[in-house]
């Protein structure tokens, strides 16, 4: 069951959706609340195609005026390329919808679930080359 509530204009929080990330990178993802999904719609201010993570920076217009800025952490370029991303897929000014798992501490940031690009493509944050956790015992990820 989905419970939707509109928060701060463009921000839609969808609770009670457990999402387990398939990507695994250089740190634990427990700082993100994977039981929560936030959807933000806004204008891209930067798309950083960098390691250890790529980032989307988004200005999100608020209902009562003003803008809230969100930082969205993604996988690394290598992992993102496996799910169809290219380094030129976003540029400043692009309108974008991003679903993310928010930071637990309330800062305006989160982990990408998926993004809807201006051309309508929906791109995720993996799946990389396979589900990383399944071999964590055999193959230490070093996280």
């Amino acid at each position: 069951m989905r419970i939707r509530s509109r928060v701060n204009g463009w921000v839609v929080v969808i609770l009670a959706i457990a999402w387990v990330g398939t990507l695994s990178a250089h740190h634990s993802f427990s700082m993100f609340d994977t039981g929560k999904k936030v959807t933000v719609k806004g204008s891209v201010t930067a798309f950083e195609w960098t390691n250890p993570h790529a980032y989307i920076e988004v200005d999100v217009p608020q209902e009562g005026g003003g803008v809230k800025h969100w930082s969205v952490e993604m996988g690394s370029p290598s992992i993102l390329m496996q799910s169809g991303w290219k380094f030129k897929d976003l540029k400043a000014g692009d309108k974008i919808t991003v679903e993310l798992n928010p930071l637990r501490n309330g800062d305006p940031g989160g982990l990408l679930i998926q993004a809807t690009l201006p051309d309508g493509r929906v791109l995720g944050n993996g799946p990389g080359r396979g589900p990383a956790p399944s071999t964590s015992a055999a193959a230490p990820t070093g996280r």
Binding site: L23, S24, A25, H26, H27, S28, S30, M31, D33, E48, T50, N51, P52, H53, Y55, E57, K68, H69, W70, S71, E73, S76, P77, S78, I79, M81, Q82, L103, R104, N105, D107, P108, G109, G128, R129, G130, P131, A132, S134, T135, A137, A138, A139, P140, T141, G142, R143
Partner: protein
Amino acid sequence: MIWKLCSVVAISLMFATAVFAQAQRPDLTGVWGPYRGGRGADPKLAPTPAGAPVLKAPYAKPYEERRAAAAAATQRGEPGPTNGMLCVPYGVPTMMSVAVYPVEFIQTPKQITIISEAFSEVRRVYLDKPPSKIDEVPPGYYGRSTGRWEGDTLVVDTVGIKDTVQYQTMPHSDQMRITERIRLAAPNILHDQITIEDPVVLEKPITYTLAYSRLADYEMVEFVCDNNREFVDANGVVRMRTQGK
């Protein structure tokens, strides 16, 4: 005359043996991604896990306590720092298996070079040099690796891993030795059986096998850790730096 004939036969045998040994050696050159096995796969080709390390008494309890505390902190959403999170290289043996990232082997007659895509880590295995003496290798992330062929298997000996470079956050002594047996388990499946021995810290050796499948035509992606937004706050908790407030 008879001696001359014997010499020719002996030399021919030596040559034939050398050629045969050479022919047995596979070419490991290429890019290899983690092979998970799973549904439809041959279980003999899948990786085999290590199980929990068994440490000697003085080390076991502190290790378990530290692991439990780290797991609890992660459970609370307040993970502590790790080398990887700080963009410190994983080193040997962890670099052989970082998440979903591939490794590249470059094989030449005298050296095999292994590059991990994650963090662009590089290790070199010297094939024509004697094994290292532990006390003569300055501790580092990759130590010193020498290798030899046993039939179709590359046997790699590594010593000289510094104490902060840890397998599964496990402590180790300067007597730690890592032996890898690397071979093609199938034409496009590579196995690396890793054995960690440490007579000071470990009650028994740790052994596990990593499995990789060949990524034909894959071009390794650059990975320089120059935009690390994770940081450790005053309470020792890993946080993500955001641009907004």
